[in-house]
């Protein structure tokens, strides 16, 4: 029986980069999963996710929660220009961050795209969020971006297709 999870692409950065783009994503799966292990080239940064080049001011909505060792916080917004994959936590120059992002029914054109993110930054927090791309378009490209500072050498970003 064929595997239900197929590795589509993986990149390990050999030099700093502000973005990693997955394009021409086939519409033959049901869900997508991103596994992101980022490190900052310098300082810290946020991991952002955008679909089909959409950076519109109200294209994304997100509700999140995190615990940072001293408090538990929840917030939300319906007017984001991106999805923040690790709520309340920036990635650092240390390899201490793992983020998984599940994108459901990415090729369906009868619904907005629902995304679940789980982030773990060892020195900052553990977090979870639910996000939505306010579009019924099928997702054909994904940009994983670093805000403030670039992804550094050794950053690994993998994309998987989940069949159903």
């Amino acid at each position: 029986m064929p595997s239900a999870m197929t590795a589509l692409a993986t990149t390990t950065l050999a030099s700093a980069s502000a973005t990693v783009t997955f394009s021409s994503i086939p519409g033959t799966y049901r869900d997508l999963r991103l596994v992101i292990v980022p490190v900052a080239s310098t300082g810290t940064g946020d991991v952002k996710i955008n679909f089909n080049g959409d950076t519109g001011a109200s294209s994304y909505a997100q509700v999140y929660m995190y615990g940072n060792g001293s408090s538990a916080v929840s917030g939300s917004a319906t007017n984001f220009a991106t999805i923040y994959a690790s709520a309340g936590a920036t990635f650092t120059t240390a390899f201490e961050t793992v983020i998984t992002t599940d994108i459901f029914d990415y090729a369906q054109t009868d619904k907005h795209k629902t995304v679940l993110c789980r982030g773990n930054v060892a020195s900052i927090n553990t977090n979870a969020s639910a996000a939505r791309w306010v579009s019924t378009s099928a997702i054909t490209s994904i940009v994983v971006g670093a805000q403030t500072n670039n992804f550094g050498v050794g950053t690994v970003i993998s994309l998987y297709g989940v069949s159903a």
């Binding site: 692409a9 990149t11 929660m65 929840s74 629902t114 979870a128």
Partner: protein
């Protein structure tokens, strides 16, 4: 860095692997429940992936093996609603079901779906109780749930139901996978 897709990604099926699709159901006419029955006992764990919409505020309850009488379960929830983080739980839940997706109640626009993942660990083992781990979210909430069903039965049926007057809307999808181990 741009990563175009080529032949490696052109097919929908890869070589045999650890995760296999068992069954998928997509709702075409509103229903109050969905059942996965005769679940193969040949895997180590199960994973259920779902996107759902309900016609009115409702829940996604989970019942294993058609239990119809109270049995002992334990459940804990951690939820964020955009303003506060809340936690609830019961170590002696007197029911045969539990709310699989705490806080992810959704009755928003017809294009707005909630999503969730349920992991059922060691589901075939008859020497241990069954552990459920759930992650879910929708337009207004995000939640983490853990549940324990103290029944030693191997899980061969999973029922997902809304309770009350809510129905799963068309486009709702439940997929169940077997994880080898």
């Amino acid at each position: 860095m741009l990563l175009p897709f080529g032949i490696l990604a052109s097919s929908g099926a890869g070589p045999a692997g650890a995760m296999e699709l068992i069954s998928t159901t997509v709702v075409s006419t509103p229903v109050t429940s969905l059942t996965f029955s005769s679940i193969p006992q040949t895997y180590k764990h199960l994973q259920v992936r779902t996107t759902w919409h309900e016609n009115t505020s409702g829940y996604v309850f989970v019942t294993a093996n058609g239990h119809s009488s109270a049995s002992s379960t334990a459940v804990h929830y951690l939820t964020g609603n955009g303003t506060t983080v809340a936690s609830a739980g019961n170590t002696n839940w007197p029911g045969y079901w539990f709310n699989g997706f705490a806080g992810a109640i959704d009755s928003n626009g017809t294009s707005v779906f909630s999503a969730g993942i349920i992991d059922v660990l060691d589901y075939t083992q008859t020497t241990k109780a069954k552990t459920y781990r759930m992650f879910s979210g929708g337009p207004t909430t995000v939640g983490l749930t853990s549940a324990l069903d103290t029944s030693l039965e191997a899980v061969n049926t999973l029922l997902f139901w809304t309770g009350g007057a809510a129905t799963f809307s068309a486009g709702t999808r439940f997929s169940i996978y077997g994880i080898k181990g």
